[in-house]
Amino acid sequence: MRAALQELVARRDLLYMIAWREIKIRYKQSVMGFMWAILLPSVIVAAGIMVRYGMSAISGKAISGQEIAAITVKGLVWAFFAGSLRFSSTSLIGNPNLVTKIYMPREIFPLATILSQLLDLGVASGLVAVVFAVTRVGASWQLLWVPVLLVIIVLLATGWALLISAACLFFRDVKYLVEVVITFAIFVTPVFYDVEMFKKYANLLLLNPLAPLIEGLAKCIVNGSAPNLPWVAYSAAVALVSLVGGFYLFKRWEPSFAESI
């Protein structure tokens, strides 16, 4: 395990290179170029606003600017998380040449996917940050939570991405399973709504390790209040277990990648 980590650190140039390649070919020969980084989050945010508009029409309570801001933050994070899982499923099987013909630490592929998704998140968040700054949403000391929560989200995504990429290599239908789960997971993750809306069932929703993180981010950015710490700690624990477990299993399965792909 330690040797594997050392090797990964030694080959970090390769990690950046593969991430760079992924970004480069995504935007090469495409009409929209970097607009793609914003398109998917925008669609999610737009859908969220529509859903909330529908809810407010029924309840008779108008949607506030704060609610829209919260949906924007959550939509961005969701786009990153879903994108990471979706693209990690093809990260190994999309590179059969490299997996079967050249030796390298294979976790570089799912990790590069996460990096390239992070770049998209960065581009989109940069835009949102400008809008928020102009409209004076947020800005409180609670913003210091943002990097902490983001790190936990990235760790969680990485752990799962490692598992998914390896599972897809052995079983091709895992890819479709991931698609299905991502499509419906948005309904059990508080992206379009807040967990508080579910009153006594709120805790049930928070069992989804992504929920406390997403909620926490929206809270500290938009409302300027601290995230729900016990639940964040729970998410952090899940993230850590996923990462360590994911990395361990990945390395255990790695020797048979070349002959199973």
Partner: protein, 413 residues
């Protein structure tokens, strides 16, 4: 132990593969999982699907040594390379590596078609283990070696296969590894580039790197690697000096060639005999006779016998035929046999030579049967000639040249 001098040690390595499809989807896995639970399945059918790509392979390489691996397709050459590079793990046995390894298993495997040549040099260089700064430093040398300076900002998907391979080899050859593994890369590109590749490989070997070379290019192996092993059906069947290993490879492939035969007319025996020596060792300049016998098992078109000799680098140095020597084509009916004898002067320098025989139809340029090596001979080394042929050199004058006047006379004459 002289472990410091060992660059690579392969000990009793075996590798088992499962033939055919494995569980490729969860849907396949679940039934087999239940089958296993209930104690069915995993019977002989599963065992029959397994096969050993490598069995008990052992060899050692010293630092700075060039080493060849020879074998026909499917003998396990690529598998052993994949185990050495760490792409796969052996089923049993161990492999110890000592130093930075670079593998040229398939040139340009790390290329992405949409990226330009320049971008791919950086990408592939990093994949092969170079640091960014290192590539910056070597970039110009890589481009120059590939000869693709004009196309370096073109996406490689617009490259020809040859250009692709040239760029791939250029990157890989500049990695400066301690151990370099080369698999069949020289079969690409034009002859000029192939020669440059060979030169570059020689340079890498001279610089003290350890090289493992796998190729069908037997001449290249003989030239580059003093020592090699022969793999047949996953087992090492010969190891030692490359010349000898090459010979046993050629002999065994000759045998296999005969086994696979289904022809109407074929060579049944070839024998080389000398006037005063029998067996495989001959003296230079000796008169030798080559007896060729053939048999016909069906209706066959008339054909001629071609006799050729290859040197130890598998260059054909000579061939003749019954046709060239003025004999009519041989016409045989079912069940008939035929024999002919060539007589020749063995004006060869010392070394190993391989005789080959073809049954050939000159009118349609078709080989009917081929036996190579039909015989292998050693010509005893002579002190007075080096090289391939022995044109019987003699000295007819030997002494100081007289005065300059006489020299001018000599030129006039």
């Amino acid at each position: 132990m002289t472990t410091e001098n060992i660059a690579l040690r392969v000990q009793n390595v075996s590798k088992k593969f499962s033939r055919g499809e494995m569980h490729d989807s969860l849907r396949d896995l679940i039934p087999s999982f239940f089958a296993r639970l209930t104690g069915r399945a995993r019977t002989s059918s599963a065992a029959a699907k397994e096969f050993w790509a490598l069995q008990d392979v052992s060899f050692e390489l010293n630092r700075g040594e060039a080493f060849g691996i020879i074998g026909s397709n499917g003998a396990g050459k690529s598998t052993i390379l994949k185990l050495i590079t760490g792409i796969m793990k052996p089923t049993s046995g161990r492999i110890d590596l000592n130093g930075r390894l670079s593998a040229l298993i398939e040139v340009g495997a790390g290329f992405h078609p949409d990226l330009t040549g320049r971008e791919n040099i950086y990408l592939n260089g990093t994949i092969l283990g170079m640091k960014r700064a290192e590539i910056d430093r070597k970039f110009d040398a890589i481009v120059e070696f590939s000869g693709l300076a004009d196309f370096i900002d073109t996406p490689v998907k617009r490259y020809s296969t040859g250009m692709y391979a040239r760029l791939g080899f250029s990157v890989a050859a500049h990695v400066d590894p301690d151990i370099l593994i080369v698999d069949e890369v020289l079969s690409v590109g034009d002859i000029v580039f192939q020669n440059r590749c060979l030169e570059k490989m020689n340079e890498i070997i001279r610089s003290g790197a350890t090289v493992i070379f796998v190729s069908h290019n037997l001449r290249a192996i003989a030239e580059l690697c003093p020592r090699s092993i022969l793999l047949e059906h996953g087992k090492v069947t010969a190891s030692g000096p490359s010349q000898e290993v090459l010979r046993s490879y050629l002999e065994s492939s000759g045998r296999e060639g005969r086994r696979a035969r289904s022809k109407e007319i074929f060579i049944t025996a070839v024998k080389v005999r000398g006037s005063h020596s029998e067996g495989v060792a001959f003296d230079s300049g000796e008169k030798v006779w080559v007896d060729v016998e053939m048999e016909c098992t069906g209706d066959a078109e008339p054909c001629s016998v071609v006799l050729f000799i290859n040197d130890d680098r598998q260059y054909e140095i000579f061939h003749t035929s019954t046709e060239y020597l003025g004999c009519p084509p041989i016409s045989l009916k079912q069940g008939e046999r035929f024999a002919c004898t060539f007589e020749l002067d063995l004006n060869l320098a010392g070394g190993t030579f391989y005789w080959g025989v073809l049954l050939y139809r000159f009118n349609i340029e078709k080989t009917v049967d081929r036996l190579f090596p039909a015989a292998t001979i050693f010509v005893n080394t002579l002190p007075e000639v080096r090289g391939v042929v022995n044109p019987r050199p003699r000295i007819t004058s030997f002494g100081p040249l007289a005065g300059i006047e006489q020299g001018k006379e000599a030129i006039k004459l």
